[in-house]
């Protein structure tokens, strides 16, 4: 890594970003903090409520249930997308027309607006007009994502796998491409088998990009809102009400500002905490020159 010089005047270069992000992040965040410690009876009259909302939210089963569902969702999609993404990357053509072809087609789902992703799967899974729903129904499988919890979960998980596995695959592919041929030659001389090549050459070399992939996928799945909302609306019942869906319901639907704000802050903190762990690991990998 290059040596950096110390120069505190560099602050001037960072200043525009600082001002802009302060405007679009700090001010709104302070509003949230404000609401979280106050109570209101309308008419813009606010009363100090201290940590009451936090206590209320912490003892509220509703939030814990949403958190549980959220952790389950993020866990499942990471467990599917990371291995599947690596597998796809290993099978991608390394160069030439087919390589670019795969890259372009695989990026396509990433560029579809999230509500359209929801719409696509909402249609695709419908028993009357969707290919998936119709086929499953014709095969005699009981599938109805609007009424059956299991079906709803399978639908949103398959949708997320469809939407984001390519991101993992593209990152892993980029990592694979950066491995010099000499490594493979050495492995051939040592007569390493396919598994050993993967375990001792490809996987360690991919570690850096895989950390980015896990970080991005964890963060984004943890704040997912639009796609499951369009498909299931959080239902049936509350079966697919993930954290963001619950929060928007509370803040914009019922206008419970205090509890919603307390909820927001705790939600943000959880993401921050876990992301910080990933980030630290990533920076350390960077330092080792991976």
């Amino acid at each position: 890594m290059q040596q950096k010089t110390t120069n505190h005047k560099a602050w001037f270069l960072v200043l525009p970003v600082l001002v802009l992000v302060a405007f679009s992040a700090v001010i709104p965040l302070m509003t949230v903090v404000n609401y979280s410690v106050q109570d209101t009876f309308g008419n813009n009259q606010f009363f100090w409520a201290g940590l009451e909302w936090f206590q209320e939210m912490l003892s509220d089963e509703r939030m814990w249930n949403a958190l549980q569902r959220q952790l389950m969702f993020s866990g499942i999609i990471l467990a599917i997308e990371i291995p599947l993404g690596i597998f796809v990357a290993l099978n991608m053509p390394k160069s030439g027309f087919w390589s670019s072809f795969c890259l372009v087609v695989m990026s396509l789902p990433l560029l579809i607006p999230w509500n359209v992703v929801g719409t696509i799967w909402q249609i695709f899974g419908r028993v009357d007009i969707g290919l998936l729903g119709y086929t499953l129904d014709a095969l005699g499988i009981d599938y109805n994502y609007t009424q059956d919890t299991i079906s709803a979960w399978i639908t949103i998980i398959v949708m997320d796998v469809w939407h984001w596995t390519s991101l993992v695959a593209l990152l892993a592919f980029a990592g694979l491409k950066s491995i010099p041929d000499a490594y493979y030659q050495a492995a051939r001389i040592d007569q390493a088998n396919r598994w050993k090549v993967f375990r001792f050459i490809e996987l360690p070399k991919m570690m850096g990009v895989l950390m980015i992939a896990i970080l991005l996928r964890f963060m984004d799945s943890f704040m997912i809102y639009t796609e499951p909302f369009v498909v299931t609306g959080g239902g049936p019942g509350n079966a697919t009400t993930l954290l963001s869906i619950d929060l928007v319901k509370m803040a914009l639907g019922q206008f419970d500002l205090g509890p919603a704000a307390a909820f927001s802050l705790m939600y943000f903190l959880v993401i921050l905490l876990i992301s910080w762990v990933f980030y630290t690991v990533m920076v350390n990998l960077d330092k080792k020159g991976m």
């Binding site: 040596q3 010089t5 120069n7 602050w11 270069l13 960072v14 525009p16 600082l18 802009l20 992000v21 405007f23 679009s24 992040a25 709104p28 965040l29 099978n91 053509p93 670019s100 890259l103 372009v104 695989m106 396509l108 560029l111 579809i112 509500n115 359209v116 719409t119 696509i120 249609i123 695709f124 007009i129 119709y134 991101l167 990152l171 980029a174 491409k177 950066s178 493979y184 030659q185 051939r188 396919r194 090549v197 850096g208 990009v209 980015i212 963060m219 704040m223 809102y225 954290l243 963001s244 803040a251 919603a260 927001s264 939600y267 943000f268 993401i271 921050l272 992301s275 910080w276 960077d286």
Partner: protein
Amino acid sequence: MTDATALTPATRARSLPKVKGRAVVMTLYLLFLMLPIYWLLNMSLKTNAEILGSFSLWPQNLTFENYVTILTDEAWYMGYVNSMIYVVMNTVISLAVALPAAYAFSRYNFLGDKHLFFWLLTNRMAPPAVFALPFFQLYSSIGLFDTHIAVALAHCLFNVPLAVWILEGFMRGVPKEIDETAYIDGYGFGRFFVKIFMPLIASGIGVAAFFCFMFSWVELLLSRTLTSVDAKPIAATMTRTVGAAGVDWGVLAAAGVLTIVPGALVIYFVRNYIAKGFALGRV
């Protein structure tokens, strides 16, 4: 096959699993990706009567009526125009502020730089749902509600950190000697940055622009919350198809297909940098 292996032993070592197996895996995966999109396209070319009346794998009576509806109705096509306006605004703003900042992070140590970098990243981690209500109040109070610039600024929340991150990764790869030589040759910072440095990281700028475009284009929660009529994005317009008579599936599908088009076009232009871009310049 023997000739090829003699020439490039390394290539053979890489393709240890049979080439056929690879092709099958990729075909299955790409098929899995394309099927739902194909189904949307299929539906957009059918009339509602056909969609609901019969089940077929391709349109029996091909019709472009759904697309005509969208392209001739101002309420519809203005949705696309609005989305494009704020997406472009956001991309320009994000890049303009991120370029100097990324340069600072990649070249200098300064007071609190690491904390600042992580703090920027935390904004990329902030759930839009948390910010929806405060944004609504903030932009209403300064009279920017329902304007394109409000959405563009709101999207800076996650796009600026991302752009800084990507650009910093690319800039790190440019040797410092180039800066020093330019300063010795009498270039000022501004002239050096625009004339010499920016062309060197042109691909990085392209990739960062692509990502800003992408994340601003696909986001719905904030853009819907911050607009009502004048700056309404296409994603929000799509809820129009749910009427008293049920959902207008054909038009909904056609609108969906049209939102995929800009993305597909943009991918084509950055296709050679996609892999590097997705690694945020770190490969």
